[in-house]
Structure formats: structure tokens, C-alpha cells
């Protein structure tokens, strides 16, 4: 351990912190967008007319069958082609993550929606709610609540996966750490530190999940 230079970590903290912020932003925004789009996909899959059901099923299966890193890479090239101008690596990564995560959130929400009992659906309709109001006020809130632990677990995975944006040279936490590692020639220190940071954040997340699960049982 004598050769370890912790000074390099302290000196690069502001730079690393900026990277961490990018990671958090990407996770948070992709989580919101992916959850919204995933919920729509799940609703289409369960109650939609045949073409929408089919679309949702194909969408989910395709995205779950290709590696995330490929999706990030594609969108980096694809989005500027589609809209005719460059959008920057953050935006293209965000779009890629949102569309990719939506496939997973769709499956989680589908399970959540199915977990709401038929009796609850009847009860909402019986007081005169329209099917859309019933979804909004009775079914979705319960589906979300039932799925919170699973949704959080998926968010932790998403946070770890944001480290893949190094392929489009977006300076998230992982990329920043590896820049410092190479420039300063301190690979061991930086990669250990990066691992520690990911561990602390993700482990706290899973403790929270465990706590929520326990609360649900009680």
C-alpha cells in the first residue's frame, strides 16, 4: 500500500464530482423518461388494441435482446442523421438510455398493473370512474406502489450502466476517473476509488430497497 498516492484522488475531486453529476443527471432523466414510456408500453400491452399490443411486445423484446452498449452507440450516430443536426453526446445517450430502460420498466409495470386485483378495477368503475380515470386514480397508483422495490433495483442497475457512455466520450464519473487514471498514471488508485464510489451509492440503494420491502410485508 506504500506506493499508493491518495493525493491524486483529492486533487481531482472537483473534476470527478462533475463527472458524478453527469452520471446522476443521466440516471435521473432516463429513469423518468423510461418509466413514463415504459408505463405507456405496459398499458398498451395489456389493454391496447391488437396492433398496439403487438408493437409493445415487439419493442420490448427487441430492446431486451440487444446489448445496451450497442444502443448507445447507434443512437450517437442515428439521432443526428434523423434530425439533421448534431445533438451532443449527452442528449443522444439520454435518448438511448430512456428507450432502452423503457423496455425493462414496461415489463415491471406490466407485472405491477396485473398485481392490482380485478375487484379494485370493478370498484373504481362502480363509482362511475371512466376507464381512463380508473387507470389514473385507482390502478396506476397501486401498481407503482407494489413495484417500488423492483423499480428502485432497476434504477440502481441503470446507474451502474451509465458508465457505458465512455463509448461516446461522455465524461460521466467513470470516464472522468479513467481520464485522471491515465493522465496521472495512477490506474490502481483511481479504479479502486471509482469502484468504492459505485459500491457505496449502489449498496445504499439496495439497503433502501430492503427497507421498503420489509415495510411492505409488515
Amino acid at each position: 500500500m506504500g506506493d499508493f498516492d491518495f493525493q491524486v484522488i483529492i486533487e481531482s475531486l472537483p473534476f470527478l464530482f462533475d463527472g458524478l453529476l453527469i452520471s446522476f443527471q443521466l440516471t435521473f432523466l432516463a429513469l423518468i423518461a423510461g418509466l413514463a414510456w415504459g408505463t405507456i408500453l405496459a398499458v398498451m400491452r395489456i389493454w391496447g388494441p391488437a396492433p398496439l399490443r403487438w408493437f409493445s411486445a415487439v419493442y420490448v423484446n427487441i430492446f431486451r435482446s440487444i446489448p445496451l452498449i450497442l444502443v448507445i452507440f447507434w443512437f450517437y450516430f442515428l439521432v443526428p442523421l434523423l434530425i439533421g443536426r448534431p445533438v451532443g453526446n449527452f442528449t443522444s445517450a439520454l435518448i438511448a438510455f430512456s428507450l432502452f430502460e423503457a423496455a425493462y420498466y414496461a415489463e415491471i409495470m406490466r407485472a405491477g398493473l396485473n398485481s392490482v386485483s380485478r375487484g379494485q378495477v370493478y370498484a373504481g368503475l362502480a363509482i362511475g370512474l371512466s376507464p381512463r380515470q380508473n387507470l389514473q386514480y385507482v390502478i396506476l397508483p397501486q401498481a407503482f406502489r407494489n413495484m417500488i422495490p423492483v423499480l428502485l433495483t432497476q434504477a440502481i442497475i441503470l446507474f451502474q450502466d451509465t458508465s457505458l457512455v465512455y463509448v461516446v466520450a461522455l465524461s460521466d464519473f467513470m470516464t472522468s476517473a479513467s481520464v485522471v487514471a491515465k493522465v496521472e498514471g495512477r490506474l490502481a488508485e483511481m479504479y479502486l476509488f471509482a469502484a468504492l464510489v459505485y459500491f457505496v451509492i449502489c449498496f445504499s440503494g439496495s439497503l433502501l430497497v430492503k427497507h421498503l420491502q420489509k415495510k411492505k410485508v409488515a
Binding site: 386485483s117 375487484g119 379494485q120 370493478y122 370498484a123 373504481g124 368503475l125 362502480a126 363509482i127 362511475g128 370512474l129 371512466s130 380515470q133 386514480y137 385507482v138 397508483p141 397501486q142 406502489r145
Partner: protein, 242 residues
Amino acid sequence: MIKIDNIDKWYDDFHVLKGCSLEVERGEVIVICGPSGSGKSTLIKCVNALEPVDSGRIVVEETDVTARGTKLPLVRARIGMVFQHFELFPHKTVIENLMMGQIKVLKRSREAAREKAESLLKRVGLADQAQKYPSALSGGQQQRVAIARALAMDPIAMCFDEPTSALDPEMISEVLDVMVELAKEGMTMMVVTHEMGFARRVARRVVFMDQGEVKEIADTDTFFRNPETDRAKEFLSKILAH
């Protein structure tokens, strides 16, 4: 007021309701009984179109519930429904359970809805439980809240689908008391139940169903003293044996 005219319903190739007809007059209390699987619950869920029928007509106060294009939410809001398993919304407090339909469907103001909810909770003896979540209440309390939730919509009729069969025995009477009270006030009620004591006290007529058919419709006294069909005799002897 409620006219069920020759309805048929299938679940895939199972014939649940076979040509059922029944008329309920304003202010009348009708008890529907019969062995399990006889189609009672399905029949009552057809009245507010929670279950669609395959043929036949159901008319509730001039409105054809079974016609295409009928605005079902408006019809349903006018028919109170109480379920076997209460079905209170678990993510809402007791008072919010009573306010939701008033605000979202009847477009009442929050204040008006709250006032109505509070007075109904008082009426079912649960004014002090308003801020609790349903899971904190006993079964009997939950079912009384469910009745209050239905009443909050100012229904013209109430349907009960085995309201006491999921309750512990000592909680049955608190729910039946509320229902008897309602009946005395002149509410039109269709009640699927095995509570024959309740039927004797408040029902004007009893409907006996078996294997998807309405086998017998009789005045309550006649039904208990001298049922017409053998099937009804057998059913009564089993249910009143002890």
C-alpha cells in the same frame, strides 16, 4: 325501476346466466340467494354493466344499460355497489375513498365532497376513522366504509354482492344493521346474501337461483314457509338446518 329482461351470459363455453328476468320496484328490497356458482354475483354485476351480457336487456330507470353507446360511468355512478371483499382503495384514506367519486365523477367541490363524506361516516358510526387507511380498519368497519362510499354518490339503488360473507361472525351484525337502516329509509336494494335472517326482516321478495337460472321469485313469507321448487326446499333445509 330495475328491469332485467331475459339475459344470457357465457364465460367461454360455460353458460353462467340462462334467460334470467327480474323486476325490482322503487323502494323494494330483494334478496337473491342460491347455492354457490348459481350465477347470483354475476347477475348483480350485470345490473351496472361491470359484466356485459351476451343477450337480453337491462333497463335502469329508462336507461338501457345493455345498449351500445350508453354512457356507463353515469349509470354506474347512480347504482351503489358493495362487494364481498370491500374493495376500498388501499392507497387512499377512508375519507378520500368517500370523496374520490364525488369529485371525479359528480364534479362536486372538495368542500362539498368532504362535508358529505363526513356526514356519511357519522351515519355508519365511523366518524373517528376518517383519516385512517383502510388496512387499519376491521373487516366490518371496512364494509361500512364501502357502503358509505357507495352512498356518497347519492345512488337511486344499491346492489350488495355477498356483503357479509368475508366477515368474521361477530362483525356481521354491524354491517347488517346499516343495511337494515337503509332498507327502512326506502332505498331500493338488490342483495345477494345467505343471511336469511336479514332476508326475513327486510326483503319484500326473495329470488332463488340455481345453475344460472332464476328458479323462483316469491314473497319472502311464502318463500320461507312454502318454497315452490324442490331445489329451493333442499337449499333452505341445508341453510336453515342449524
